[in-house]
Assembly symmetry: C2
Homo-oligomer: 177 residues x 2
């Protein structure tokens, strides 16, 4: 499927409500348990998504449009949420994510990006040259990746409880390595 | 995490609204595309979940409680949705799933299952002896598995559009084999 801004935004718009519906008011065991050392709980993932709204997607799109490759992106801190989420409830994080996403999608609309801008380039600190289209497509897949991660992390908690059915539930074989 | 009926039901209750929020009114490309031969689109997955509500979880729980191992479960048809969904819109399927799930959770409540029933056993046509607890835990992980599958199937459509970021988005490496 070729990248299309409206179709991409259709997914980006739905993510906060999808996560709210999946996670809000769930018993804490479901949302505060991770998959083992150096893995994230659903609570951690929402903090990571919030940091992305603040520091990643729109910030980088602006750099591409305003500076091109002359100003490389700032590196993204994959662990920022461990400090930034401190003291906040999951419900608060879900609302914060929704508000930031809404604001960022409004900004994206104001940027009036057209297909002619899709191939404009920027410099990623590790990946090198990337295009605006690739950045926006990645924003979408990043949302979907973390929705799947949350579902997997929750499912893994019943790894032994499902008994012999473990063989049939593919997600129980995808555990984070 | 040990199986607990209330905690399991907290997830089972949320699944229909989560899927409705994620999928309803999305452009058709997102919901009608699968991952290649012999894989399912999000539309197909919702039909499969509907068939599970009709033929699998509650039906099997009743067999365990009423007949134990003396009456094996009926085999589950993993392809029923290709006929049953015919002519229905995704919006209709999402509502049908929600209504069936609501009815099944009401039935589950009426069954007044207690921890003392968790180890009651039934005969699975392929897996052999299984317990009521394992059946109910599997219902939960099966929901989560299909939420993750839908997210992955959608993300895979941008496999090439993300360019070099493909290396960073783990779900793009989980493509159904």
């Amino acid at each position: 499927m070729e990248f299309d801004l409206d179709k991409a935004m259709a997914v980006l718009t739905r993510t906060p409500a999808t996560l709210r519906t999946l996670l809000k008011d769930l018993p804490r065991d479901w949302v505060e348990t991770n998959e083992g050392a150096n893995t994230w709980s659903p609570y951690d993932v929402i903090g990571h998504l919030i940091h992305g709204e603040r520091a990643d997607w729109i910030a980088r799109a602006k750099i591409i449009l305003e500076h091109g490759e002359s100003r490389p992106f700032d590196p993204f801190d994959r662990f920022a949420q461990f400090e930034e989420s401190e003291g906040k409830t999951l419900g608060e994080l879900l609302e914060e994510f929704a508000a930031l996403r809404e604001r960022n999608l409004a900004t994206l609309r104001e940027m009036k990006i057209s297909a002619g801008d899709f191939e404009k380039t920027g410099q990623h600190p590790a990946l090198g040259r990337v295009t605006l289209k690739e950045l926006l497509a990645t924003w979408v897949t990043h949302d979907l990746d973390h929705i799947a991660q949350i579902a997997r992390t929750m499912a893994n908690q019943y790894m032994t409880e499902v008994g012999p059915w473990q063989a049939y539930i593919s997600i129980l074989h995808d555990r984070k390595k």
